[in-house]
Symmetry: none
């Protein structure tokens, strides 16, 4: 387990902290474990809270791409906040405050802020409470994390 984790981290370091692509089955073969074990490692060690983003594709020529998020201290607090947002949900006013703040801190451009706000407006989602605030929470988190990648 430990070894899978450090193997992947070594790969990332070798690629200069850029994105790394893996083949799940090959990696499982290499470590003599079940393929689903790879998923477990990714979920527990390479999740957003640990500063990583996972993307993947199934089918022929499938892959798993791991991107190390650019984490600075400011964003650290945001990560914790995002977790809370996903758990409890967030209302439109709260989301607006968050995006406005990110705009002020120059973490979001004007256009990006407009996109984010449009995506989570009440009449865009058009769902009954409380599910609306929960869905909004997940969207907010996904969008903010997408920015931390690069």
């Amino acid at each position: 387990m430990e070894s899978i984790e450090s193997y992947i981290k070594a790969l990332i370091q070798m690629s200069g902290d850029g994105p790394v692509e893996l083949r799940r089955n090959l990696l499982a073969l290499h470590f003599g474990c079940a393929p689903s074990q790879i998923n477990y490692v990714l979920q527990t060690r390479f999740n957003p809270e640990s500063g990583y983003l996972i993307e993947s594709r199934r089918g022929g020529g499938g892959y798993i791409r791991i991107t190390k998020l650019n984490i600075d201290p400011r964003k650290c607090r945001i990560l914790a906040f995002l977790e809370e947002v996903v758990g409890r949900g967030i209302d439109e006013a709260g989301a607006t405050r968050l995006f406005t703040r990110l705009l002020e801190e120059r973490l979001l451009s004007e256009r990006e802020t407009q996109i984010c706000l449009a995506a989570v407006r009440r009449d865009t989602l058009d769902l009954p409470l409380p599910v609306r605030d929960l869905v909004r929470g997940r969207i907010v988190k996904a969008m903010v994390l997408a920015l931390a990648k690069d």
Copy 2:
């Protein structure tokens, strides 16, 4: 697959973004694949969401014509498409194609594309079908309109 896609795109570029005519069987021969594979590529990569129009003719002297839709008259075409998207909903693959197309057209930056894609991912929305595709449709429309607003 990838290669067929980029081959066709190269053809289009060489023709100055004008219409391009292909012979399905020749292309299949050239890439050593089944002719129906060509149809698959066309359906998944050169559909209206990606901004392409396909016309074809069977029988002797048949052909497949691919036209890259110009973004200039997009004001009407995209708006009409967005209305459709809101009515019928849109799946993740369709939304991805749309945003990728907007990125290619430089109507979206790389970062903006990432935000949009993250917002409408299946596991972000985490809603049961068919409501998931409908919500995604509304979000897609809202985000695209937010961009058009300047």
